[in-house]
């Protein structure tokens, strides 16, 4: 099982959504959560180090979630980070693009606490195997 001290970065341009994800993570036992309001700020925080998991929206100003994901995957010291996308983008080509860019999971909004928990566990399992 994942370390409850695992440090999460929640990236979404809507504070409400960040708060909801943060609360859900807290319910799942993860209290070490930081927030960023777009991909550019997220990248700054990630570069500063210390994060072990990224949960990101797709459609954001400055830098969108897909670009953030691609940048993370192209950055040597970040590319190992699991990136879970939680987004309202529901076109099949979106999901495929995210998967191809190396997303660890994809959740469409609106979503439930159960879905988040399930996807997180699936990602932890894969990380454990790796």
């Amino acid at each position: 099982m994942a370390d409850p001290k695992m440090r999460f970065l929640v990236v979404d341009d809507f504070s409400t959504m960040r708060r909801i994800v943060r609360n859900l993570l807290k319910e799942l036992g993860f209290t070490n959560v930081d927030e960023a309001e777009d991909g550019a700020i997220a990248l700054q925080k990630l570069q500063a180090g210390g994060f072990e998991f990224v949960v990101t929206d797709w459609n954001m100003p400055n830098m969108d979630g897909l670009t953030l994901l691609q940048t993370i995957r192209a950055t040597p010291n970040l590319k190992h980070l699991p990136v879970l996308m939680i987004t309202a983008e529901a076109k099949k080509e979106n999901i495929i693009a995210a998967a191809q860019a190396g997303a660890s999971g994809y959740i469409v909004k609106p979503f439930t606490a159960g879905t988040l928990s399930e996807k997180l566990n699936k990602i932890f399992e894969k990380m454990g195997q790796a």
Binding site: T16, N59, D64, E89, Y106, I107, V108
Partner: protein
């Protein structure tokens, strides 16, 4: 795709203007202001006059030979309309386009409709900002309430299970008389004061959550108005587009990866409607 065609056309237009463009002083003076005709339909008459003046000026250059090579000479002689044949041609085309658009709008009655719609747009913007504002406030109120109620409920759970554990001991005859008496008193206090106080406080937060939904009524009214406006605008613009856009450019969807939520998934095969479909798709691709 139509978007690229458009932008290629636009670019060509831009270049044709830019290549001929020289010091601003040389810009051909527009024809003398047309005599204000019958005041009744001043707008239309002005446009007609402007159009005629442009059309008249440019008839000659347009029929001349390809003007591409005469540019250097033109720059030196600098004045009058004929030295700028390309530019004139562009003005001419724009004039024709404006005329055609104006006529179409007028004939179809869309000009009034569009005028109304355009003046309504800033209002719609304010209304939508109002909706965004109210929904954000509501979300914050609800999240605050759950933040307050959560610990209250947790506390009831933990204190109850602590008492229950001690009662288990009592039933297993592991408590002395004094301990049992104390347990009974604490349980009484728990039931009489402790729990009711916590549930009342929780209830107050539930009421807060309920009251936070009052935005629905307000935003509902505002959104209906904006939707009506959008429908008017859409109908108007569609009418114009159908008149103006050539058949070949009428299809072609916008391909983008940032479309936001799917508002109506009915009859669409390119979108998923739930998490299970996301998972199936990813599975089928081997992710």
């Amino acid at each position: 795709m139509s978007a690229t065609n458009d932008s290629a056309d636009l670019e060509a237009l831009f270049e044709s203007i830019a290549s001929d463009y020289a010091p601003p002083a040389a810009t051909p003076a527009p024809a003398p202001a047309p005599e204000p005709a019958a005041a009744a339909n001043a707008d239309s008459d002005d446009l007609q006059a402007l159009f005629d003046s442009i059309a008249a000026e440019t008839v000659t250059p347009q029929t001349q030979a390809e003007p591409a090579n005469i540019q250097p000479d033109a720059a030196e002689t600098a004045s009058g309309g004929e030295e700028w044949p390309k530019q004139e041609a562009v003005f001419n085309r724009i004039g024709h386009m404006a005329r055609a658009l104006h006529d179409t709008l007028g004939q179809l009655g869309y000009d009034k409709l569009l005028e109304q719609t355009v003046s309504a747009l800033p209002d719609a913007k304010d209304r939508l900002a109002y909706v965004a504002n109210l929904t954000e406030q509501a979300a914050c109120r609800v999240l605050n309430a759950t933040d307050i109620a959560g610990p209250l409920v947790d506390e009831i759970e933990s204190s109850s299970s602590a008492l229950a554990a001690r009662w288990d001991k009592a039933f297993a005859n592991q408590l002395g008389v004094a301990e049992f008496k104390q347990l009974a008193e604490e349980t009484r206090a728990h039931l009489k004061d402790h729990i009711p106080a916590k549930t009342r406080a929780t209830h107050a937060q539930l009421t807060e959550i309920m009251m936070a939904q009052d935005f629905q009524d307000l935003t509902g009214q505002v959104i209906k108005k904006v939707v009506a406006l959008a429908q008017e605008l859409e109908a108007g613009l569609m009418g114009v587009l159908l008149e103006v856009v050539p058949e070949t450019k009428r299809t072609g969807e916008v391909a983008s990866l940032m479309n936001g939520p799917v508002v109506n998934a009915e009859g669409r095969s390119d979108v998923v409607v739930n998490q299970a479909q996301v998972d199936d798709l990813l599975d089928s691709l081997g992710f």
